[in-house]
Assembly symmetry: C2
Homo-oligomer: 172 residues x 2
DNA sequence: CTAATATTTTAGCCAAGGTTAACTTATTAG
DNA sequence: CTAATAAGTTAACCTTGGCTAAAATATTAG
């Protein structure tokens, strides 16, 4: 399958009345049709809604696994925010049925929370491994993966995984 | 340079008193040191602050280039939000010195706005091209790029660009 | 020129995610 | 056991980025 099959939108419909744009001028970087463009931004807004929740449950799962318990003071330190912020977000996580806890006590994940944590963790790992396989330094890969992970579709994840696997074999 | 040099954090310092985690159990996916971990999240929060601004100036530049003017009604349609939302965000862009306009008239970019738009556009283009070169479908690549672009460091961008270039030559 | 329509702005609302400061509860030292 | 310290919560505040409904301005049709 060849890349660059759909470059630009030469034949795309445009409903603006003053569409006198000469065909030749905007070759490869014309605007996508309005509705598709809107879909792109909507997908990003969508990702933003769950981003923080995913990071929290992932971190809580990691702390439970590696430290035995997930205290909100650790979360605050690891996230680099105040404890008050953690407290409020945890309240939200509880109201969403992702986390359970008694006041002043350690945190736990619900079934739903564990499911989300597992998926987030796997996705995070795939992206991180891919970036390292690409040749990105560990430090940078970790930073980029933390943000990118929330904006990578399943299709791209599959391709990233395949790439890492091939790299692993054929890697010099 | 071999990948997977720094896997995990076996030798990392941990200051938690109840650190009885057996060495063998958490091999490849131990938690990074607290301060580095916090840096990751801080970088993401940082990106979130400019994300929308970047998308706006980029879109405004695109509209100016392809349609001759940037009306807030077009922005609203392309972003998939209400005109009121656009109006408010444009007020913010103006207060940040990125956009200029007279009331009820079309929008323009300041020098600063154009600079930001140029950088954002280039970064966006690199990410999109990279995803297509990887083999991701055009539709998915556009969606993923719209979100990923804001979380990709210069180091990774350089590597993506090199990858796309090599793909272009050796591509079957 | 006037009336209808389209565009832009404003006002009032909301949720998320951050802050500091003050308070409450747990844990630890003596 | 009590006092000091650590951890967690709550209250009050802020900015961002959404929304709807209403008002103001521009543009277009007749
Ligand atoms: Mn993650
Ligand atoms: Mn993340
Ligand atoms: Mn962009
Ligand atoms: Mn974007």
């Amino acid at each position: 399958m060849l890349p660059y099959e759909h470059i630009g939108y030469i034949g795309a419909m445009t409903n603006s009345p003053n569409d006198v744009t000469p065909y030749r001028l905007c070759k490869a970087d014309a605007l996508p049709p309005s509705d598709q463009h809107a879909q792109q931004y909507a997908a990003v807004r969508n990702a933003h809604e769950t981003e923080l929740l995913e990071d929290y449950v992932e971190l809580i799962a990691d702390l439970l696994k590696h430290q035995g318990e997930a205290r909100s003071t650790d979360i605050a330190a690891r996230m680099g925010v105040s404890q008050a912020t953690v407290s409020k977000t945890v309240t939200r996580l509880k109201s969403l049925g992702l986390v359970s806890s008694k006041p002043y006590r350690s945190l736990f994940l619900t079934e739903k929370g564990e499911a989300m944590a597992a998926m987030s963790h796997q996705r995070h790992a795939i992206v991180l491994k891919f970036l390292r396989a690409l040749g990105v330094s560990d430090h940078t890969a970790r930073i980029d993966a933390e943000g990118m992970e929330h904006h990578v579709s399943q299709e791209t994840l599959d391709i990233m995984q395949r790439f890492s696997r091939e790299q692993e074999r054929g890697g010099s």
